[in-house]
Symmetry: C2
Subunit: 142 residues, 2 copies
Amino acid sequence: MQLDSSGLQVLSTEECFALLSSAPIGRIVFTDRALPAVQPVNFYLDGRSVVIRTSPGSKLAAATRHAVVAFEADEFDTELRTGWSVTAVGQARAVTDPAELDRLARLPLMSWAPGDRDHYIVVDAEQISGRRIVATRPGGAA
Amino acid sequence: MQLDSSGLQVLSTEECFALLSSAPIGRIVFTDRALPAVQPVNFYLDGRSVVIRTSPGSKLAAATRHAVVAFEADEFDTELRTGWSVTAVGQARAVTDPAELDRLARLPLMSWAPGDRDHYIVVDAEQISGRRIVATRPGGAA
């Protein structure tokens, strides 16, 4: 088990994608008018790409156009104080190709929020990393 | 009930702080070598300030020094497709004042990760905003 400098277990690329695909919600991290911004979204992991549905005029659609963004998902057990997090980083792109739009529209991805959601943002994960917090052993390094 | 352009309920400042104080885990959003970065942390809400414990040499400690960061917490019910998220934005600062360090060390804030965690980062929330997804009514705009 590989640990990072903070004592967290480093996850492999395969584990990262497997955990990411299990999460119902993730958070897209971007810059909005020079300030850090973050928005939770439901998503579908399509191979190594994160697919998000939004409305064409949304702040998210505008702010992520051609931007490098991060996409994070996690799951924690507050009783056991264990959990994992995975972060992918990549270029966000608005899907405009009709054939790709047609394919994405058939994915099992329904937006939770109301309204017109026919705009698709795809984040192709160029980097992915993940960590797991394992329960601290009594007498361990803590 | 005030709705935003995406049909989400806009939360008041008081609701935002109340929900934030109820969350065991949040995510600090910052810039790491010009790329968007995000890290889940446990935290304590001290008035309108988010208090985080980390190690002095951590990437988080280095990257958030004098930086404007976002801090996000959320909770979603995947069955009902409802939930909320709150994001605070403010300047992060490393605590160096001995009296403040002494006070923070007495807060009920234990880091989940192992190792030396005697470095405190405080994010004074200068802006806070939050949204709630309420269940979509059948026949609604979705």
